[in-house]
């Protein structure tokens, strides 16, 4: 029997630590989905085979870990205990890493990260600018843990908090500690977690449920997935503590269908936790029983909304319903239910173990702790970053994110997914917490942070999000079902150059109506991308409507592709790559695009050598001139 009690757990922890020589070299390979896409699986396999072949097993450990966060630079390999950070590792580098670094303790400069600003190569993971300003209390352990091995989690003080909660604290004390910590829900709403637990605890019912909302549907946000994949036990531990505090006997983890690796790792972690007696009957020998099931979602964005999520678990269509009654009153199968997001649950063990006082020192007055953001889009260092609440956007985007790609100009950052908004450059020095984002018309949401540059059209971005929510609207209530559709139609019309000046007022009216009259969070927040772009980027709307112009050169209907005759060298590249044969011209002669055939796919622009860069995009009056010229030539012929 593997089942442990608090005493046996500490013994086991001591055993694991003793069996692991601290100084033993360990090659850790990031196994997050980003690195998977880069082919880390094969790399890990080759490492393992080589270590076996060279009989280095007693000198070197190999560990495939959770996501390290710096997805831009995958596949990532870190050599511990030194923390030597290798990025963009290829199969061909493996032999050298083993012989030189793992055995010889010699660093391979070529594989190190090069600071693009200072031009120096950086050896240690913690010194890379991307990591330096972060405070990775939740996410940091990912890099040391093989999510399929519960011992790795136990070695890093795992399940210590459960032991403390069950044997040294009363449920009320836990709730009071979570309240004092100032933890607020990381799923979007920002409701105080301790308060939520208290409400559910006070309900008189012999059956209560807790749920972990892992239906991370916001496009561009993937921190919950990386936590579930990389450190599933931290979430399970948080749920056990929550269940004990609330008095729930059963928990569900509702995972998004599109995250197969998360489903796999968390399912395995639950089995392991049962084996060791962290889940099931008499947890750690106490009189508390609790177990967790994984529920695989079926691909509906609206199921991230709590009442929809519960409907889905019950086997129904994920329709939201009116609140109140809140889930704490009538949740799953009519019983009191407490729902928290993945990241919220992952915060709980830390608060219990280290205390509310320690926790509440991090962050701002009203938003405590850290927040994991997925920093994506037109940014140099794409990845997951964990920072204390209150850090400014500028620090996140420039110091950690390394600024905008290809030296372009920052235009906006979109936070909070389809429920959030776009913030302009003059908001860069705002400290980021729940309240400043809400005041700015956006929301914290689950933590997506999509950076946009001068090439992104804000009307198009608003249209993109509205199209998203319109497609994902469940259709139950009229304002959301019809309102989002109307807004998409207006926005599409504007991006196609068919907008009328009255459209802006119509958009505003619709947005207000949908916001105020929709049944659930999906509809109530759906207009945010429209409202914020109208608030901060009104000039772009006006330009689209009045001048039929898209300055970002993004809206297809408002631009033309044009080959600059004085630059074109007649290399035939664009002609060969044009999928619709719209380009004519002989070798060493200027090529011409037939505007009647061109589908504006941009393939010519992609292939034109940067030295030549003969292909330009034009909009507004310039576009009209080119079309006129084109038509004149055609009629002449």
């Amino acid at each position: 029997m593997k089942k442990v009690d608090p005493e046996k757990l500490e013994k086991l922890r001591a055993q694991i630590t003793a069996s692991r020589e601290k100084e033993k070299t360990c090659i850790t390979i990031c196994g997050g989905t980003g690195c998977h896409a880069y082919g880390c699986e094969e790399i890990a396999e080759i490492f393992k085979n080589e270590i076996k072949k060279q009989k280095l097993g007693d000198k070197i450990d190999i560990r495939v870990t959770g996501c390290h966060g710096f997805c831009e630079r995958g596949p990532i390999v870190v050599i511990q205990p030194e923390g030597i950070f290798y990025q963009r590792v290829r199969k061909e580098d493996i032999q050298e890493i083993i012989s030189k670094t793992a055995v010889g303790k010699e660093v391979i400069p070529r594989l190190l990260y090069k600071d693009p600003q200072k031009g120096v190569r950086i050896e240690k993971e913690r010194e890379v600018p991307f990591y330096k300003k972060q405070k990775r209390i939740i996410f940091g352990r990912n890099g040391f843990i093989d999510p399929t091995d519960i011992k790795d989690y136990i070695a890093l003080d795992g399940y210590k908090a459960v032991s403390k909660a069950l044997f040294e604290m009363r449920p009320e004390e836990i709730i009071s500690e979570v309240k004092k910590s100032g933890l607020r829900g990381r799923g979007g709403g920002g409701f105080p977690t301790g308060k939520k637990w208290e409400i559910c605890r006070e309900k008189d019912s012999s059956v209560k449920y807790i749920v972990c909302n892992a239906d991370e549907g916001d496009p561009g946000a993937y921190m919950d997935r990386s936590l579930l994949e990389g450190n599933p036990h931290s979430i399970i531990e948080g749920m056990i503590i929550g269940a004990y505090a609330i008095g729930a006997g059963k928990g569900y983890i509702y995972v998004r269908l599109e995250y197969p690796l998360a489903v796999k790792n968390v399912t395995l972690a639950i089995e392991k936790a049962r084996e060791y007696g962290f889940l099931g009957e008499s947890i750690l020998g106490s009189d508390f029983d609790f177990d967790i099931s994984v529920f695989k979602g079926a691909g509906a964005f609206v199921s991230g909304e709590e009442t929809s999520l519960m409907a889905s678990i019950e086997g129904r269509r994920a329709f939201p319903r009116q609140r109140p009654p809140y889930p704490a009153d009538k949740g799953l199968w009519g019983k009191p239910t407490n729902i928290n997001n993945v990241e919220t649950w992952a915060n709980v063990p830390l608060i219990v173990e280290k205390g509310a006082q320690w926790y509440s020192r991090i962050g701002t007055e009203t938003s405590k702790g850290t927040k994991i953001f997925s920093l994506v889009g037109k940014i140099n260092n794409t990845g997951l970053v964990e920072v204390p609440m209150g850090m400014t956007l500028r620090e996140i985007i420039y110091d950690i994110g390394g600024g905008i790609k290809d030296g372009k100009k920052f235009k906006a950052v979109q936070t909070g997914g389809p429920s959030g908004g776009c913030l302009p450059a003059d908001m860069l020095d705002q400290p980021i917490d729940f309240d400043t984002l809400t005041r700015a018309g956006s929301i914290m949401g689950s933590g997506g942070m999509i950076v946009m540059d001068e090439d992104n059209c804000m009307v198009d971005v608003a249209r993109y999000f509205l199209k998203f929510t319109q497609e994902e609207s469940c259709g139950k209530c009229v304002p959301c079902r019809i309102g989002t559709k109307e807004m998409v139609e207006i926005l599409t019309r504007i991006t196609e150059g068919k907008g009328e000046i009255g459209d802006i007022k119509k958009l505003k009216d619709l947005a207000e109506t949908v916001k105020n009259a929709s049944l659930c969070g999906l509809g109530q927040t759906a207009p945010n991308p429209v409202l914020t772009t109208l608030r901060y980027f009104m000039d772009e709307y006006i330009e689209h409507i009045e001048e039929k112009k898209c300055s970002a050169l993004s809206c297809k209907e408002l631009i033309v592709y044009y080959i600059e005759p004085e630059k074109c060298v007649g290399c035939l590249l664009c002609k060969k790559n044009c999928p619709v044969n719209a380009i004519s011209g002989e070798r060493k002669q200027v090529h011409v695009i037939d505007q009647d055939i061109c589908i504006k796919c941009g393939a010519c622009l992609d292939v034109c050598p940067p030295k030549v860069s003969a292909i330009s995009k034009y909009t507004g009056k310039d576009k009209e001139k080119i079309l006129e010229q084109h038509n004149r030539k055609k009629t002449k012929k």
């Binding site: 980003g34 496009p219 079926a298 509906a300 019950e314 086997g315 269509r317 994506v376 796919c601």
Partner: protein
């Protein structure tokens, strides 16, 4: 079908789990399957149909031999995923969500696979292609057929 149903309790809350299993085993939910499930759970066929059509995971038509999925997440969108999707759609001559007449390709979109650093992303039969531009599309499609040719030879 019987073997799949056997694995679940005849309770309504199992419906989505059952649909997942059927979709996985048969590639779609056939009218026969709907009827079997409704009998097993003692609910109407309409209810089974209502639930399965609500969720993107379930399809009423068999999919093509190969699935090409284009990520339409925000990070991919701002890097030009719409043009990439258009190009796949144009080359395969089908709209997103549809299957080619020869049942060889199904073109799908997904709202985010969470590999945003690699955007725009296309996934062919579970294999990820990162930083896809319109000019890569032809090769990605060709490679799927080539890969199959290779497997056949082996």
């Amino acid at each position: 079908m019987v073997n799949i149903l056997k694995k679940f309790k005849p309770e309504k809350k199992e419906l989505i789990h059952i649909l997942h299993s059927v979709q996985e085993a048969q590639g779609y939910i056939s009218p026969e399957a709907i009827s079997e499930i409704s009998k097993y759970l003692n609910i109407s066929e309409g209810e089974v149909y209502g639930v399965l059509t609500f969720y993107n995971a379930f399809t009423l038509e068999p999919k093509g031999k190969h699935t090409i999925t284009v990520c339409m997440g925000t990070a991919c969108h701002v890097r030009g995923a719409a043009s990439v999707l258009d190009e796949f759609s144009r080359r395969l001559n089908i709209l997103p969500g549809r299957t080619t007449e020869d049942k060889y390709f199904t073109l799908e979109t997904v709202n985010c696979v969470g590999a945003c650093a690699l955007g725009p992303i296309a996934i062919t039969d579970g294999h990820y292609h990162g930083h896809v531009s319109t000019r890569d599309v032809k090769k990605i499609i060709d490679d799927v057929s080539k890969e199959e040719g290779k497997k056949k030879k082996e």
